[in-house]
């Protein structure tokens, strides 16, 4: 048994086709780019300049560069790209016409569905792919506070906002456990918490390949503390998306079971074209909140992506 199989061993009973999971986890991840909707006029000018139609997309532009591009089934304006060189080394990228990101990490911002003009908090934001998705989704209106404990990890976030022309982001380097409570309330928030990163097995960067199993249990405390703090900053009726790039129930369902009270409802959701499994309501002999079933578990072999777990939680009146 190799490292990959060993890392996934404990999920045998959770997944439909464990061999397929192990198999896909050994293969590299497809690269995905999404078109920046804030730069429509820029795309149009470049397209005309290089002899394409006015209505050409970034996908079309990349195709003329020799990339193989395949539109995502579940999201408009995004493509899997293959071939030649890194898409991050193109004029389209330099000009902020597009962003390169792992496919399944586009999902949390879809689930968050932030609207124009809202106040949004991205609690653990660096290096910022999800912040960018949220901010452009709000069409450069409202405010997105992008926070992260580590200032140096915020540098690429800032650089991406500048490149993409994102004007509605405020960056803060604050420890989430001490995030000022008078900074709220926020309409929506994303809690993409630090985790053991099992879902990143397919990432080829050596730093992300290490599976930090010993951390699976140790992380739960930090995750629950961050959630507890952020919860106080969410307005009643507001939505929090809690996500991890890991499969461990200890970092997902168990954290929510421990940290959420009666003023929280984990809501069901579905992204058409992106398959997910339900969350678990029993793990290691313990019964969990029934609404933990509404978590979405994105297994790598179901959509040929990285692994991800997402919960959409609404704040309701405590005794309502």
């Amino acid at each position: 048994m190799d490292d990959t199989a060993r890392a996934l061993q404990r999920y045998k009973e959770l997944v439909d086709d464990w061999d397929a999971l192990v198999d896909v986890s050994r293969r590299p991840l497809p690269l995905v780019v999404w078109q920046n909707p804030l730069r429509r006029t820029h795309v149009e000018r470049l397209a005309v300049g290089v002899g394409l139609d006015r209505g050409a997309t970034v996908g079309d532009l990349l195709a003329t560069r020799g990339y193989e591009v395949e539109p995502l089934a579940w999201r408009k304006g995004a493509w899997r790209v293959r071939g030649v060189d890194k898409p991050g080394r193109t004029l389209e990228h330099y000009l902020g016409l597009m962003h390169v990101q792992e496919e399944v990490s586009l999902a949390p911002s879809e689930v968050l569905a932030a609207k124009a003009g809202e106040a949004v908090l991205d609690f653990c934001a660096a290096p910022g792919g999800k912040t960018a998705c949220i901010a452009v989704g709000m069409r450069n209106t409202g405010t997105v506070v992008a926070n992260d404990l580590r200032p140096q990890r915020l540098r690429p976030l800032r650089s991406n906002c500048e490149r993409l022309g994102i004007l509605n982001v405020v960056i803060t380097p604050i420890n989430g456990m001490r995030f000022p409570l008078d900074a709220g309330p926020f309409d929506r928030m994303l809690l993409d918490v630090p985790c053991s990163c099992e879902g990143n097995l397919r990432d080829s960067r050596p730093s992300t390949r290490r599976v930090r199993h010993s951390q699976v249990e140790g992380r739960g405390g930090l995750q629950a503390t961050l959630l507890g703090r952020a919860w106080k900053l969410l307005r009643p009726g507001g939505v929090m998306v809690y996500s991890t790039c890991t499969f461990a129930p200890e970092e997902n369902e168990l954290v929510l079971d421990y940290a959420l009270g009666e003023d929280a409802v984990i809501e069901p959701f579905e992204i058409a074209g992106l398959r997910h499994d339900p969350g678990v309501t029993r793990w290691a002999g313990k019964d969990l909140r029934a609404d933990c079933a509404n978590l979405a578990r994105y297994w790598p072999h179901h959509n040929n992506t990285g692994g991800f777990t997402i919960a959409r939680i609404r704040k309701v009146a405590a005794n309502g």
Partner: protein, 161 residues
């Protein structure tokens, strides 16, 4: 890092932009302006509000560096807001754009019509009518202000059929 960002009246910067680039300023007029340190002006969406948050490590994008006798727009601001500029614009061909994005200085021949630009000042470099960055024009040469971390060796990389 951790510098304060203070809201400022954008009027002088708008006026400068309009003057410098003979460009409509509607999009900019709908923005908020922030000062960081003594010389750095940032631009953000109108509704952006950091409230009482501190420390803050960025509000919107950097717009302009003031302080010297000539103000210097950032390349990211030029790309974002420079689409409709009519003055102080230099149109580059493909090889020139590649040099520019690789931070090389471009020299224009004596008889190049683009030499009619004023002697010295910050200009918008364009490729296919699209702003690609801010440059310093000096008597027929164009220096590139593309930040080191963003340089790009070839506009047609990897290939363009």
């Amino acid at each position: 890092m951790g510098d304060r960002y203070c809201p400022v009246d954008g009027a002088p910067y708008l006026e400068w932009w309009q003057q410098q680039f003979d460009a409509p300023a509607e999009t900019l007029r709908a923005c908020s302006f922030w000062q960081r340190g003594r010389f750095s002006i940032w631009v953000a969406a109108a509704g952006v509000d950091p409230g009482e948050l501190a420390p803050v490590d960025g509000v919107g994008i950097p717009f302009l560096r003031t302080g010297r006798e000539v103000w210097k727009p950032t390349s990211v601001a030029v790309i974002e807001f420079g689409l409709h500029a009519k003055r102080n614009v230099v149109d580059l061909d493909r090889d020139e754009t590649s040099c520019f994005l690789d931070r090389e200085v471009i020299e224009f021949a004596e008889d190049d019509p683009r030499r009619t630009l004023p002697n010295r000042g910050f200009v918008i470099a364009r490729y296919h009518g699209l702003p690609v960055g801010c440059g310093l024009w000096r008597r027929g040469t164009l220096g590139s202000s593309v930040p080191k971390g963003r340089r790009l060796a070839d506009v047609d990389a990897p290939i363009r059929n």
